[in-house]
């Protein structure tokens, strides 16, 4: 037993040495480069999953995906290449490939990429961890997930099936550039979800809720999986025989757990500088009013425990808190080094890549609307006939600001009072019309996890308080 412990420590130290070596290999290769600017990234992603289906362990799952990529800039043209081999000769080959791809595609490119200045940082960052998952007792994790599964299945007679999943994604990232940046980061994300399925008289419905953060396993103490398990089980049981919410434009209270979808889908994408450049709704609107003065919307790369938090982005630029909309007015956009140069702005640390197979593009980090001071009851008070929409599903937005996202539950509000629960529907509208109609903001803030797809996927945080506005609900005909 004691020996095993020593081996374990040794292995961890060896890992540290190994990443130092990988950085050295990349630096050595960089010296042989002829391109004007080169970035190299090494990425090792270790995943661990416990999945329980209906009380049975589906599988315990663990694995590693690892590789190196090179991005080279030659006369304003980017080239990119990646490899899963960590040998110096293969990394060098990737470097040569990236440079020649850059050269070859140059004639087809109209624009010439130039980069805003960023200090070449030499730094190390690790997610603050109280309970490091690498040291965790896996059996304990399995039994914890089993307990949630039991709670969900015993919640009511209507619950017939469930999936309870817990994941740990542990990323080791190194970055080296020809400008001299040398950065290593370890980013740990722990997250779980519960899907509860209810069945009654041939009707079937399901509900899903998730927890998670950039954190160690202490997240399970802060936001127990049981809590969301109960929410999902309760909702599925309640809605299995409920009708679908009606169609039309209604005043609504959006639950804090889904307001982040509005912040992210509807507004956030329009404030990504690459989409702004392409003519998004927010192009040429800096300093103009696009939302109610109650609305302040930010993207924060340093939000404590945020799912999208990192100290540096995948171009080596430090992350920051970027105010996108302040009291209804457009303040700024999210940038990469390239768009920052074009917009004469500062890079905001939003260039992100899913893994070593992708080059970085502008992505949100933790996007949220700031809190106000109303309770949820106060928000409902003013509504004669409307809905309290809860439980997010997936969303999508055009860069004109037309957005949609799904909701799981619509609680009827009649003369300021919460009434019966109906099955949720997809809501839509133009984000900026919806934000102009925000006339009250709640004080209960929630930050949750999200997975965003924009050519490549990435982990993001989305958040906000409960708020009141008007939306179009795509429900049943009256």
């Amino acid at each position: 037993m004691r020996n095993a412990f020593i081996v374990c420590i040794l292995k961890r130290e060896l890992r540290g040495v190994f990443f130092k070596m990988m950085l050295d290999v990349m630096v050595k290769c960089l010296e042989k480069s002829v391109a004007e600017h080169v970035e190299m990234r090494h990425h090792r992603r270790e995943a661990f999953t416990v999945a329980i289906k209906d009380g049975k362990v589906d599988a315990l799952n663990n694995g590693v995906v690892e590789g190196v990529c090179v991005r080279a800039l030659v006369k304003g043209s980017w080239g990119f290449s990646s490899t899963t081999s960590l040998l110096e000769k293969d990394v060098l080959k990737a470097l040569r490939d990236a440079a020649s791809l850059a050269k070859d595609s140059k004639p087809q490119k109209k624009r010439s990429a130039r980069l805003a200045e960023v200090k070449a940082y030499v730094d190390k960052y690790v997610t603050p961890l109280k309970l490091d998952p690498r040291k965790a007792d896996k059996e304990e994790l399995v039994s914890l997930v089993m307990d949630t599964d039991k709670l969900v299945r015993n919640f009511s007679k209507a619950i017939v099936s469930d999936n309870v999943v817990f994941n740990v994604i542990d990323d080791d990232l190194s970055f080296a550039s020809s400008e001299g940046a040398r950065i290593t980061q370890r980013i740990v994300r722990c997250f779980g979800s519960v899907l509860a399925v209810a069945r009654e008289k041939g009707n079937v419905t399901s509900s899903i809720e998730a927890i998670g953060a950039q954190s160690g396993l202490e997240i399970l103490k802060k936001t127990p999986l049981d809590e969301v398990g109960k929410v999902a089980a309760e909702r599925a049981s309640k809605l299995v025989s409920a009708p679908v919410a009606p169609a039309g434009v209604f005043p609504v209270v959006l639950e804090n757990r889904i307001v982040g979808l509005l912040a992210h889908e509807a507004v956030g994408h329009c404030a990504e500088a690459d989409l702004v450049h392409g003519g998004s709704f927010l192009a040429n609107k800096v300093g103009k009013k696009v939302a109610s003065t109650l609305v302040t919307l930010v993207d924060d790369g340093r939000y404590p425990n945020g799912f999208g938090t990192m100290k540096y982005d995948d171009e080596g630029a430090p992350t920051q808190k970027t105010v996108l909309i302040e009291k209804g007015m457009v303040k700024g956009f999210m940038h990469s080094r390239e768009t920052a140069h074009d917009f004469k702005a500062k890079p905001t640390g939003n260039a992100r890549a899913w893994n070593f197979e992708f080059d970085p593009i502008i992505r949100m980090r933790n996007t949220y609307i700031e809190s106000g001071d109303c309770t949820v009851e106060e928000l409902a008070e003013e509504i004669k006939e409307g809905y309290f929409l809860k439980g997010g599903l997936s969303g999508q937005a055009d860069f004109t600001g037309e957005f949609m996202f799904g909701t799981q539950e619509a609680v009827h509000i009649k003369n300021g009072e919460f009434r019966e629960s109906l099955r949720g529907v997809t809501i839509s509208g133009n984000a900026f019309e919806v934000l102009k109609k925000v006339d009250a903001i709640g004080k209960d803030f929630a930050m949750r996890i999200g997975l965003c797809g924009k050519e490549q996927i990435n982990y993001v945080g989305i958040g906000g308080p409960n708020l009141r506005t008007n939306v179009l609900m795509g429900g049943a005909a009256k």
Binding site: V197, V244, N430, G474
Partner: protein, 447 residues
């Protein structure tokens, strides 16, 4: 070392480590892709994605481990990881066995094209530029927002302790373009067009032209009225709105776990008589075709709905074993790092006789939807979302593009309200082959 040698030796390693049974799924994919962003080439990538996933079973306890490195040492470490996970795990009483060896059918014709396998970055770039230019030439108002063209060569090898040994190479070429149209300060909604094929017979020009046409056709939209009525769903929205819930409900795992509304309904009428759907893993040139599934079980044709009557469910070996029956060869994995689930191979909605224009001429009052941006609850069948590139139809003619229009309904009701099925079938990104479908009694919601 061949992929098959790697998977075979991984199985042997697991057996040496004490596995009752073990399975290795090794995969190697070479991708050449060109990404357009804001009408410009954003990146060009040549990448090789490879790895192996191992199922290690001991006393009905399953451990699964994967690695992106196929070196001998990494694979051995991964075998040990799988063993450790299996030790930590709890027994699954439903576990019976990995599949046993069976004679594989001949590989479906046309799933490998050596021309695609050797496409270079520059050649894919050329395909992309042809689509790009075609969109621009089609209409000056069309602007390309983004797009991506990718050529894949995939090699898969599956081995297990019961003598399953299967290996196959396939190719796929796919491309999409997202177009918007601008006119007098107005911007249309985003129009999406795509194609995918197993062989090089691929027209990027058609993708570009159709994307531009769709975008231009949605300029100057009007707000329509709200009503309950007829909707023509293009193949893409038809597969999302109508077929996803069908796919979910015939998944034997969902049926066994009481999640399917079709549990216990085999032989019952679930749709109009005009609707027939099969799953065909052996479809020549099919985008989901292979001679074996993700567990090395032979692929086959399985009737799902025949003339409106529910005929069959789809199984992998786990769900089949639970019922002591044969797998339908529908084990599926999204990659070597995933466990097999149950999914369709090629789901084929039997085409009808009418061209799209004939379907339109049948509609006295309704809309046509070319893209659906919304949510579909696959278990209950509810769908609601925005009708994109939607047009109002009156007296058999397309009148004007619609804005801020949503559609909603229930897929299981809607397949009983199918009025007609078109003849022009095409594959969608979910490996569903469907023509346009005309349905009735849909909630059409306008502001």
């Amino acid at each position: 070392m061949s992929l098959q040698t790697v998977s075979q030796s991984a199985v042997k390693n697991c057996e040496k480590l004490g596995a009752d049974e073990a399975e290795a799924y090794a995969q190697k994919t070479r991708t050449v892709e060109v990404v357009l962003e804001r009408g410009e080439i954003q990146s060009e990538r040549v990448k090789v994605n490879q790895g192996i996933g191992l199922r290690f079973i001991k006393d009905k306890k399953l451990g699964f481990a994967f690695t992106s490195s196929l070196s001998k040492d990494s694979v051995l470490t991964t075998c040990r990881n799988a063993m450790k996970l299996s030790k930590t795990s709890l027994p699954n009483p439903d576990w019976v066995s990995l599949p046993t060896a069976a004679k594989l059918p001949k590989a479906p014709t046309g799933i490998f094209d050596p021309e695609i396998a050797t496409l270079s970055g520059n050649e894919v770039l050329d395909l992309t530029m042809r689509a790009y230019n075609a969109a621009k030439e089609c209409d000056k108002r069309a602007v390309i927002d983004d797009g991506k063209f990718s050529a894949f060569v995939t090699e898969v090898a599956v081995s297990n302790s019961h003598g399953v040994e299967a290996t196959e190479k396939s190719t796929l070429l796919e491309g999409f373009i997202v177009c918007i149209a601008k006119e007098r300060g107005q911007t249309s909604s985003m129009a999406f067009e795509y194609d995918m094929t197993r062989d090089i017979k691929f027209s990027p020009e058609k993708i570009g032209r159709l994307a531009a046409e769709k975008a231009v056709a949605s300029i100057g939209p009007k707000t329509g009225e709200s009503f309950v009525g007829k909707v023509i769903l293009d193949p893409e929205p038809a597969s999302t709105v109508l077929c996803y819930p069908v796919v979910s409900s015939v998944n034997a795992d969902n049926v066994q776990r009481k999640r399917s509304v079709w549990m216990g309904k085999l032989g019952e009428k679930v749709a109009v008589s005009q609707l027939s759907i099969i799953d065909n893993g052996l479809l020549p040139k099919g985008v989901g075709s292979s001679s074996f599934d993700a567990e090395g079980v032979p692929c086959q044709t399985t009737p799902i709905i025949t003339k409106g009557v529910l005929k069959g469910f789809l199984h992998n070996s786990f769900t089949a074993n639970k019922e002591k029956r044969k797998s339908t060869g529908n084990a599926s994995r999204d990659g070597y790092n995933m466990l097999p689930t149950v999914f369709i191979s090629n789901l084929i909605v039997e085409p009808g006789k009418k061209k799209l224009n004939d379907l339109i001429s049948e509609v006295d009052k309704g809309i046509i939807v070319r893209r659906f941006s919304g949510n579909v609850r696959t278990d209950s069948g509810e769908f609601s979302g925005i009708a994109k590139q939607a047009n109002y139809i009156e007296n058999g003619e397309i009148k004007y593009p619609l804005k801020e229009t949503m559609i909603s309904g229930n897929a299981f009701q809607t397949i009983k309200n199918i009025v007609d099925i078109g003849s022009e079938s095409r594959p969608t990104f979910m490996r569903i082959y469907t023509p346009p479908i005309l349905v009735d009694k849909i909630n059409i919601v306008s502001k």
